[in-house]
Every structure is written in C-alpha cells, then in structure tokens.
Symmetry: C2
Subunit: 635 residues, 2 copies
Amino acid sequence: MGDQVGQVVEGTLYYLPYTEFQRVRVLKLPREQRVAIFADMCRLNALYKIAYAGSGHIGSSFSSLDIISWLLMEEMNDDDIFFSSKGHDAPGYYAALIGMGKIDFDFIHKLRKIDGLPGHPDIGTPGIVTNTGSLGMGISKAKGMVFASRLGKRSGRVFVMTGDGEVQEGQFWESLVSAVNYGLHEITVIIDHNKLQSDTFDKNVSDLGDLEAKLHAFGWRVERCDGNNISAFAATLASLKGEPRPKVIIADTFKGKGVSFMEHTSLASDAAMYHFHSGAPDASSYQLAAQEIMSRLQQCMSDASASVLVFKTVEREATAPPSTKVQRLIPAYSRALLEQAKKHPNLVALDADLILDTGLIPFRDQFPNRFFECGIAEQDMVSIAGGMALKGLLPVVHSFACFLSARPNEQIYNNATEKTKIIYVGSLAGVVPGGPGHSHQAVRDISALAAMPGLEMIEPCCSEEVAQVLQYCVTEAVGSSYLRLVSIPCDIPYQLPPDYVLKPGHGVVLVEGVDVTIIGYGPVLLAQAWWAASMLRDIGISVRVVNLPWLNRVDSSWLESVLADCRHVITLDNHYLVGGQGEMLAAAMFGLPVTLTRLGLTDIPVCGSNNEVLHALGLDADGIAKVVIGCLDSK
Amino acid sequence: MGDQVGQVVEGTLYYLPYTEFQRVRVLKLPREQRVAIFADMCRLNALYKIAYAGSGHIGSSFSSLDIISWLLMEEMNDDDIFFSSKGHDAPGYYAALIGMGKIDFDFIHKLRKIDGLPGHPDIGTPGIVTNTGSLGMGISKAKGMVFASRLGKRSGRVFVMTGDGEVQEGQFWESLVSAVNYGLHEITVIIDHNKLQSDTFDKNVSDLGDLEAKLHAFGWRVERCDGNNISAFAATLASLKGEPRPKVIIADTFKGKGVSFMEHTSLASDAAMYHFHSGAPDASSYQLAAQEIMSRLQQCMSDASASVLVFKTVEREATAPPSTKVQRLIPAYSRALLEQAKKHPNLVALDADLILDTGLIPFRDQFPNRFFECGIAEQDMVSIAGGMALKGLLPVVHSFACFLSARPNEQIYNNATEKTKIIYVGSLAGVVPGGPGHSHQAVRDISALAAMPGLEMIEPCCSEEVAQVLQYCVTEAVGSSYLRLVSIPCDIPYQLPPDYVLKPGHGVVLVEGVDVTIIGYGPVLLAQAWWAASMLRDIGISVRVVNLPWLNRVDSSWLESVLADCRHVITLDNHYLVGGQGEMLAAAMFGLPVTLTRLGLTDIPVCGSNNEVLHALGLDADGIAKVVIGCLDSK
C-alpha cells in the first residue's frame, strides 16, 4: 500500500468491505488479472478472520485461493458444485463466498464463533454443500451427488478440492475405483499440492512418491499445473472439456501463498516445522503479513489503473494475561511418555501427522528409531501397532480422539481380539476447543470404543494425573487402554490431595460437600463443577465434586461409600450422554437410593469459542449450578 | 480313484489321515510334484472339514492351496511368517498346517466348533500369527511385525496372502505407501487373484482395472504368475531374492481350483453367481468333488510310482428336517424393500459385495438403475450414500453389521452431522452364526453406532416385524436409522399379536407372566426366552417375555406400565453388555423399584455351532431359565 495507505499499524486488523469486492468483480480487466486481485483480497480477509477469531488455517487457505477464486468467478455455473474435502481451507473459501456475496458480509467477524462460520465447513452455512473436516471423504461424496443428479436427469459438474496430505487416507484411493467404472466425468478433483501437511513436508511425513503415476494407474485423466498461476490453472481446466473419464488436477501450490514468510519455501530446512498450518499469527506476524498483501493489492490496482482499495479496520482485542493456574496436559504427557520410554525399551510411539499436537516431538528427538510416523493413515497406523504388539513391542498410538476412535474403529477391535497390549492416546478430546467444529470435537470417542473388550479408558484431570495415568497404562494395566487427553490450556482451580494415588475404578473428592455429589472427569468440566460449587457455597448449598478418571469402570464399593450420605448425584460428561461415563455410572448405581441427573451432550455440538460452547450446552459453571439447584428443588 | 478305491459313496465323507501326509512329505519326487500332491490332499481335507462343519469357504481355500503348500513345505524357514489377510481361506490353510503337523490332527473334525478351528483365523490356533477376517489389514500388520523384528535385531520374512476383492479396501492402498518409504523388503504380498469375490467376478463388482500398473505406481516390486502352477510360483518367488523393495506377486488362480465344477471358469456367464464362496456343498456336490480330487490324487500317486493313498471315512450326519416355524428375515427384508422401493422412487440401495447375503438380488433385478454396487469399500459406500442423501435420494446402505458399524464408523458420523436421512441395514447381526468367528460375530455394532446423533436403531424379531420396521424407517423416521437383522434361519415359537403395530419406544408382550419380566429384541434370544418361559411354567414360575425392537430408545410411560406389577427385570442382549439395549434400559429404569439383571456378552465370543455358542454364553433357554430362578431366589 506504501504511498496510498501508509504503514499497517500494530494492534489493528484490516479487511476489505463488500463494496470493494463488488467493484473489483466488474473491473474491466483480463479475467485472470481480475481473479488474481480477488484472490488476494480474500487472503487479506481470511487473515483478518483468523486473527480476529484467534485460530484458523492460514497455510492451506492461502494455497488454494487462486483456484477457488477462478472456479467461483469464472468457471462454475449454477448447476455446478464446489466443495473442499480437506475443509481446513475454510477461512479462505468463506472469504471467497463472502466476496461473491453468497454469505452475508457480517459473517467475516464470526469465524469460529457461535452461530457464525465453523472452523470446518458445515452445510448450515450458505454455499457449503457438504460437511468436511475429517479427511478423505470428498470424492466419495461427490460420486453420490453425481449418481443422484444422473437419476434425477440433472446435469452439473462437481469440483472437489483435496489436500495433498489427505491422499494418504485409504478412502481417497478406495473412492477412485468406481468413479472410473461408472465413468463419472462430471467430477474434477483438484489436489491442492502445497507440499506440506499438518506438521511439515509431505515427503517427510509419508512420501507420496509419484502421485501422477498413481492417479494414472487408477484410470483417471490426470493433469498437473501451477495452482497459484491462474492462467495456467484456467488453461488446464479448459483442456479437460469433453474428457469422458473423471479428472484430477495436481495443482502445484505454495502453502501460505501470498505472504513471503508464510510460504513453505521460506522454511529453513526440510526438517523444519511449519508454523502457519493452524492457530493464529502473533501480532507481529499479522502486521507483516497484512502489510505484504495490502501493498501488493494496491500495486495491482495501480497496475490495473483502478483506484486504490479502501480498507476497514478493527482494533485487535487485548489478550488476557495467562492465569497462573493454567495447566497444559499435552506437555505433561510428553514428559510422562519420555519417562516411561526410558524405563521400557519395548515402548514405541506411532503418529498420524500430528506430532506437534500430540506432544511427540520430544519422544521422536530422543528415541528416533522407536518413533513411527504413519502419515494421515489411521487404519494403517492402528494395524501396524497390532503387528508390533504381537511381536513384543508396546505401541503407543496417537491421534486426535475424534479420528483415533472412529476412523480405525474396526482395526482397534481386531487388535482387541488378539488380546495384545496397546495404548491408544486420543488428544483434542471433548467439546472444546469449540472452534474447529464438530468434525474435531471429540464427543463420541468413549462410546465408539466402549465395547472394545479389555480396553480400559482413562482421562486425567490435571498434569499431575497425566503421569499417573500413563504409568498405570504402561505398567499396571493387563491389556490395552485408551488415554483421553484434553488439549486446551485449562485454568484448573483444584488440586489433587498430596497423597493421591490413582486406583482402578476409584475416584477422588476434589471438593467436599453434602447436598449434591457431582461426578466427572477431565479438567474442562471438573473446573466448571469446582466453580459451580464455589458459587453455590456462597448461597449455602454444599456440593461435593468427585474426579473419576475411569471412563468405563467403577469400583462398586468405592461408589457406594462415596455416595453413602448422598441423595442427589449429577454426572458430567464432556461427551454425548449416550455411551458416556454417566451412562456407565447409571448402570452401576442401579438400586442405590439416590436421584440421578446426567449432564452432557445430546446433539451435535455447536462451533464457537470455548466459553460460548460450554455455555450453550449448559456445561459451564452457571449451567451446572442451575442443575444443582433444580435437583434440590425437586426433592 | 477309479480302480484303486472305487466309487465315492453318498452320505460318506472322506479325508486323509496324518500318516499319509507324513508319507507324501518325504516322497522322493521333484519338489513341485510333491507339493502338488500335498496341496490336493489338503483340498480333500478342507472339503471334508467344510462338509463336516456344515459351512466354510471352499473357493478361496482351493485357489490358494498350491501357494500355501509351497510356502510351508519349501520356502519358509523358522524365522519366516505367513498369514492370510483375507482369512476366509482358513479351511485350506488349516488343512496345510495339519498336514505339516503344526496343528493336532484331531482338529480336522473341529472346524467351526467350539474349542476347535474358528471360521476365520485366530491366534489361539497353533500356526496362526494374527487374527484376520475383516479385510485389508494384513499388510499393515506385516509392517508392524517387521518394524518389531528390526528393532529386536531379528531377521525373517513375512508372507501375506490377500484376496483380490480385498484390494478394494482403502486400507490396502493406505498400507502400501510406508512399506516403500521404509524399504520393507522383508514383506512379500501374494494376491490370490482368483477373479471372484464373495458374489461374483471382481470385474462386475468393482473392476480392479490394471492391478499391476497400480501396484507398480505405488513403488512395489510387482511380479505376476500362475498361482496354481507350483513351478511358476516357485520360480517367481526365487526371482525376487535380493530385491530391496517390498514385493507383491499377483498370483493368477482359479477360484475353486481342483474341482472342475467349482472352478470359476465353469460359470455359465460373467453375470452368474458363484456358489462355492461360503457355505457347505450339498451331498451330491460333495460326492462329485471328493470323487474328482481323490481320483486325481491316486493318479498322481500312481504317476509317482507311490502306493495308493488310504482314505478314512466318516458318515455324514443326517440333517434334521427343517422346522415348520423357521423364519428367514433376509428374504422378508428383500420383499419389504421391494415394496418400499415401489412406493418411493427416491429410494436407492447400496451394497458392498454382499448382494446375496444382504438380500439385494430382487431389488437389483427390479431396479437396476437404483442399485449401486460399491465393492468391498464400506467407507466409500457410506460417503457415497451421504452425497446421495444431500441431493434428495433415500439411500439404503447394506453390509454385515460387524463391518457396517465399524469400518465406516467415521463416515456414518460425518453423514449424521449433515442430518440427512439414510437407512443403514446391518445383517449377520448378533453372536450367531457362531461359525465364522469373532471377525463376523456382530456384537459391538449397537455400541459403535450408539452415539450417532439422530440415529434410530431397531431390530425386528420376526419376518412380519421386518416389514413394519422398514416401513417405519422409510416413511416415519425423521432422520437416519439402523436396521439390525439376524441372518440365520430362526425357529420362532412366538407370534406377534394380530393387531400389532410398531410404535416408537414401545415394546410388545410375547408371553404373559408375573414373576420376572425379560426384555429383549431379535429372534435369536427372544426365542430362547420364550422356551425358557415355557420350561419354567412347568415348574410354576411365571415369566413375561417382552419384545422391545427399539435398541436405543424407550418410551418411559410404556416402560413403567409394562413393569408396573413387576419386581424383577432381566434384559437380554445379543451384543456386548456394554452399549447394548440393557444398558440403555438401566438408565431409563433408574429409580424404578425393580431388580435388574443384564444378560449379554462380556468378552470376545467363542466360535462354534450356534447352539454351542449360545450355551457357552449362558444365553440359551437353559441359561436364561437359571438366571430367572436366581433372581427369584435372591429376592
């Protein structure tokens, strides 16, 4: 922006209003040039949204925006459909939909907010045709749409964008076969080949090898082009007209395209971690990135002899100073895993492209030959672990709880039938973070794994308990276990008793009380229960809060003793009510002289900030306190 | 056998004793010739086992036996491992292991019997290194074994046999990538390319296209040979020595090899169904098949100047005449589906290579353009259904309950988050048939699907109720549903009341009684409960038996009314206790003044005949009656 707009100011966020999009969309320019400006405008607005929301996926939003913009502005007609199978490019796609007037402009301020734009696509949003966020399903869904169109004698093409890490999912390959056999020429897949997946370069995670050859061998028409060169992409698309086979374009792109220091080519080495996959840029990164995009935009407008763009601004909210009581369970897990690994040479760790999020970097660095990166291939990972366990290793298998419990569900069962010992560690467990949306909110994992014979499921409520739980899984548990881990930093107001020792099926009282007993697990809801108890104490109601880390077992004597003087019990599930700890406790408490109220989720969770989500579900301290009062009123 | 042994007699089963295997294994013959005789001897014994057991997989046992025999007799040393990923060739593999003296010979009479040889492999059997039966996991498991060997500085190769239909599973492709990246030369995959999958020709189910090119593109060393020509196979294996990449041999074989009318080339047309995939041959097919193998064997021995083989015989047990009360729910479902399809033009049906078993042939024949064969690709199938539902179709998705609930578990959840309407139909539900073993005994499906928001789960107890349940799913259910179907023919002693109408959350009394109320679902256990009630009536105990087809909902007023005069309740789950109907009822009955006893499975089910399995689990009439008496004693 240089002369025209001046220096981007720290602490200020910038975006382009809808009127500017309207103006640019009709600029008398070559189509490619107009689309390039539009795409960059969307980059600025996507960056704004992510900075304003505090999290979101910059890298793949930026890599894909040239392609998306061309499709929306120039290629597609009303019968055509576009969707992103990877889904985490949502901020970019939303920006384009907003720029095209398909989504109300005010939503620009509502990324990852309740009733706003979810972190991953949901059909509740205008312009979104299918829910994505769990990888590899896109081509299959496109096929279903085409079959439906054909039966209904409707025409229309389906453009599906996938990630390049995404093609590591077996379903991607599974879905290619019948597309050819049914001759589904309506489908064009665009692989946003930005060379990086969640953590780092594809080739270091799980090398795709000769991707073109693979796709060719599956019988698809394959083209390859520079996906950040709009002319090249447009020409490639044009060359596919009339092709009777399903088509795939490998679009070579730059992750973080459009901001020099966010582009993957800026990484110092092949081994470097990429910092702009998800999360929000810090203040200075934001400032530099906005400056670069805005300056380029103004230059482009000037080159096009168009008047300068006028930006709108919003002051960035000051971040609250971190509480001193904040605990992070993932680093605690990293430390605990190292401890166990030192003692147990047969312990190996497996990862599915989430080495950072699952806390495995220290382990990999210290035990490189005992670390197995499997790529985004959870089924393969779990069955590899099965083979390892049969041969005497103790595999510890990592992914987000939502994926780990569901994607390889059958493979976990197969392992269970062999009665070997495997530790499954599911992080990002529970309904918060609420920003990524329902594809990532793991509130079904306990249920999905509940009937695995011999599987013990445990969720620690604080850093200290993490180490004890892992110790139990490694050294005491006879069979396999599922360690459920909350990933968000938690402000934890309680402390375990100094002499606390984890004991199978037993819980521990965090707050003493006599009127109502709340039983739950994990830091998110136990903290809310603690605050509820604290609030209620002020109005003379005495609430006992009990941490029961055991998700699928309870010692009946302990349960009877802890409820001996109690008439009202509330269970708290950071999970759907169905299949949660509360349901297990209901069966265990059958016949005891208590009332039982079970709190948890009953429907697909909303997306939003953590506080918004807990409040909407009635699972924040206020909500819990109200239920306590209700219990006592109805006695 | 002609002159030497005479005519094979109807009603007699033939097998070769271990002493004959000992003799043949040391015959002074060229290795290939000796192995060929051994393989044919195993064919005869596999045929015996299947005929004696009453079920088993002939086709792929026969196609793979030349390969397996060569590996066991000539190729493998003590450090090497072989397993079959497809697993349904178990009768053939067991025959070879028995012939090699690795499994006690007496087990030849115990296929699919309790404490015998399971229908699919289990590591409880000597010589079996991993559990298989759910497809596509083999290469992943082999990788895990190799990683473990490398860490332990152990050597040894892993030979994995897969089916050719099996390669339709995404996990197969998912598993190829890291094998190349890690250079796992220890692994040799042998694809038993017998051209047919469960129902018919691969190419008609889901054409594999150029399989060699695909495998090449994934970076594996690929060879192809005649897998029923032992010399060719041996030479191919030899050519792979020293290859640094993982290796795959496409072994072209004949499904049913060794019995002319069982070989797939005998099928009248490409569209014909193959009759020897699973099940048992009828008396005349057995007689002809045995005759052909035995005659050839004697000819081979004669050619080898060896003395004739001496067979042992067993009289085939007379089959009990079918009961007049037998009901088959799958044909009832076929009829009901046709009825609904006629009324609802948007109804489409999807199948994953189980068109016969899931009762879809009538639908396919009558509505060919509304039938979608997806191959063994459950994830793809379910996401296709998701795409269809988004575009206005009503997809009805079919597979066995064990696979449908687990393999595409994440895909079903993704569809659920879109709140579209899809009907999932899981057949082969429950613990019986007990013969196929735990990979096929669907006793975890209710639990695995329990927390899918909006999914109603229903299991009909008789043919008549099947139609009502499907009618409900199609026309009344707001959202998606899971129709759980028992596949075995059931002797059903009860009748629904003449005016019975399925009502959400409501059950129906099948037998009146006052002392104890048994609540259950489905024909298998309700029939046992009925017989238990009948036995107990004779000793003065009055048992009420209630059919509650709703697996995850119950109307609380109905429940209270049906239990109004009741002090003891027993729930019956044809499923693990965890996540079954009983657990749901426990939560619903909380606070009611009754005792509750929940019957169902607590551990991985045994394999065996249906009666054996139900008895072992205490879920037959005797077992249920004992629990009733126990309830009354403890009051």
